[in-house]
């Protein structure tokens, strides 16, 4: 519970309800002075003045404790603290039964020992846990008020309405403030993403216009010259493909926990791996995108290891509406179907297990097709 306000403090430097907490602390100190004054005024009329003084001491100590605690309202035990606060306040109220004389309690309506000091507990409950909790804290204090007096009347009922009402109103104000802060943060985040995207596009343009053109030229001219130049051309070509994939990939996260699987897969493109996808975004839950991308990556690593030095690979992403199909095919050495199970045992097809596991966890299926000299083709199907 307290993580909500605590998190806001850590992230933004200040909890939006912080001024309310500070005000509640000041209110607590002022009401303490008032309560002590009332006790002092009535000291000679009480049934047990010594108990009144003890309770005065308790209120002083507790006010110091809560003032320190609420001045910085962060940390995990805040809710527990507000509840203990309420218990202490109600206990001091209850002590009035033995402090006040019977007449003071029932006839003269002499203030109870803590007087309005107890409203402090209602305020912090509301600030911390919202309108409903605030009203509940108010109701608890009001119930003790009735209980200690032992009768109902207009004045006590008015107190009850005030206590419940204040708890509710303060709680509402605190949660509205937090909500406003959250929308503000979301807006700031949206603006940040937009700025990052614009910057990315600017970078992509300048990279496209400069570095990529030169790399592409180096690659082609070098390949023609042959020898050592061809080696350099190959390196330039690899960087060209990597850079193109980098500048063309969309921001990783998209709306509401969805991700564009096409953009994720595009990054896997190299000079030996071609990635085909629809022009429009293929939005899937971010977790599905992550797992499928990881599965494709594994399949591609397997191609690199086992399909032969010259093998190329093709990744195809299809969006069938109700189903997503990802195919990974290579033109490597392949493997005889009857040897697949054997190879799986040897560890050569160890990825089959891991791949199946990943896709099965998403509720999908994996199909493997291969033949000697025909390469290997994986087909991963996941329902939307």
């Amino acid at each position: 519970m307290s993580g909500v306000s605590g998190g806001a403090v850590v992230r933004q430097g200040q909890d939006p309800t912080l001024p309310f907490w500070r005000a509640a602390v000041i209110l607590r100190i002022l009401t303490l002075l008032f309560a002590l004054g009332v006790v002092y005024y009535h000291r000679t009329f009480y049934e047990r003045p010594w108990l009144a003084f003890v309770m005065g001491g308790v209120m002083i100590v507790w006010t110091v404790v809560v003032s320190i605690r609420y001045w910085r309202p962060v940390g995990g035990n805040l809710l527990a603290f507000t509840v203990v606060d309420l218990v202490v306040c109600c206990a001091v109220m209850t002590s009035s039964r033995w402090v006040l004389t019977f007449t003071q309690l029932k006839v003269q309506a002499t203030p109870l020992v803590p007087t309005i000091w107890v409203t402090g507990a209602v305020a912090v409950g509301a600030l911390h846990a919202g309108a409903v909790a605030g009203a509940a804290f108010g109701a608890v204090v009001a119930a003790f008020n009735y209980g200690v007096r032992g009768y109902f009347d207009v004045d006590l009922t008015r107190d009850m309405i005030l206590l419940v009402g204040i708890g509710f109103a303060l709680g509402l104000a605190a949660s509205s403030l937090r909500q406003a802060r959250r929308s503000q943060e979301r807006l700031a985040e949206a603006l940040r993403v937009e700025a990052a995207t614009a910057e990315r596009e600017r970078l992509a343009r300048s990279i496209h216009d400069g570095v990529l053109q030169v790399l592409a030229r180096v690659r082609r001219r070098g390949a023609e010259l042959g020898g050592e130049a061809a080696e350099l051309a190959k390196l330039a070509g690899q960087q060209e493909v990597a850079l193109r994939a980098l500048v063309s990939s969309a921001p990783a996260a998209s709306e509401e926990g969805m991700a564009d699987l096409g953009a994720r897969l595009k990054v896997l493109e190299t000079d030996r791996v071609s990635v085909s996808a629809p022009a429009t975004a293929v939005l899937v839950p971010a977790e599905t995108a992550t797992e499928l991308t990881a599965a494709v990556r594994e399949a591609l690593i397997n191609v690199e290891r086992h399909a032969g030095a010259e093998a190329r690979a093709w990744v195809l992403l299809e969006d069938l509406g109700s189903e997503i199909v990802v195919s990974v095919r290579d033109d490597g050495v392949g493997i005889a179907p009857e040897r697949v199970a054997e190879a799986e045992r040897e560890g050569r097809m160890g990825i089959a297990k891991s791949l199946r596991g990943r896709v099965a966890a998403l509720g999908g299926t994996v199909n493997l097709e291969t033949a000697p000299g025909e390469g290997v083709e994986w087909e991963l199907r996941v329902t939307r």
Binding site: H208, A216, A223, S248, K266, S276, W314, S327
Partner: protein
């Protein structure tokens, strides 16, 4: 001799490609650095094949592709572009381009692609097949317009195999078809898309009163 025109806004690349092609026996009739010049020059020199980059600085090569293929039925446009420009590639193909090659392809692939384009074939990379497949599925999922073209099952099979990197010959073997039939299927997927695009453009023009102008494209 096959005549070629190279459109790209980067002089290093443009001149490099032009030299590569003339060294291999193509007649490079012209080069152009922006979309407007590309259309003007193409009208004059009427090349067999226009090699079109899509990222022409501030402009896109898509509209130039549409204008050139619309006005010059004998001229074919082969898109030679960077990966990552998927949406543009698809638009260019819909506008009339008859193929797409990555800038990262080898010179041999480029020579082969230009030759095939001049011969009237569609040059499909795996990437383009994935885009076209995706576009047909997008149209199938969209209830409007209802006359959007559909792929036949055979065409879908062929496109999927192209998208998985298989050559026309391999596909022919796999599906027990002739090589020519495979090529025809691939071309037909493009033609339907381009026809639909023209119909859509015309419909848009009529709906928005643009057909009042007398200079409609000859087709």
């Amino acid at each position: 001799m096959i005549s070629v025109m190279v459109v790209d806004d980067h002089p290093i690349w443009r001149d490099g490609v032009a030299r590569d092609l003339s060294e291999r026996g193509f007649e490079v009739r012209a080069t152009a650095g922006d979309a407007g010049a590309a259309v003007r020059i193409a009208r004059t020199v009427r090349p067999d094949v226009v090699l079109m980059d899509l990222n022409l600085g501030a402009e896109s090569g898509v509209s130039a592709t549409g204008q050139i293929t619309g006005e010059l039925p004998e001229t074919r446009v082969l898109v030679l572009s960077a990966s990552g420009e998927h949406a543009d590639v698809l638009e260019a193909v819909k506008a009339g381009a008859s193929g797409y090659l990555l800038k990262s392809s080898s010179v041999e692939d480029l020579v082969d692609a230009v030759t095939r384009t001049a011969a009237g074939d569609a040059v499909f990379t795996a990437g383009l097949a994935g885009l076209v497949l995706g576009e047909y599925r997008r149209m199938a999922a969209d209830p409007e317009p209802r006359d959007a073209p559909r792929l036949t099952d055979r065409e879908t099979d062929v496109l999927r195999l192209v998208a998985k990197g298989m050559t026309a010959r391999q596909i022919a073997t796999r599906l027990v078809l002739s090589h020519r039939t495979v090529e025809n299927h691939v071309q037909s997927t493009l033609r339907k898309l381009q026809l639909h695009n023209r119909v859509e453009l015309a419909r848009y023009a009529i709906e928005h009163g643009l057909d009042a102008e007398p200079d409609g494209a000859p087709q």
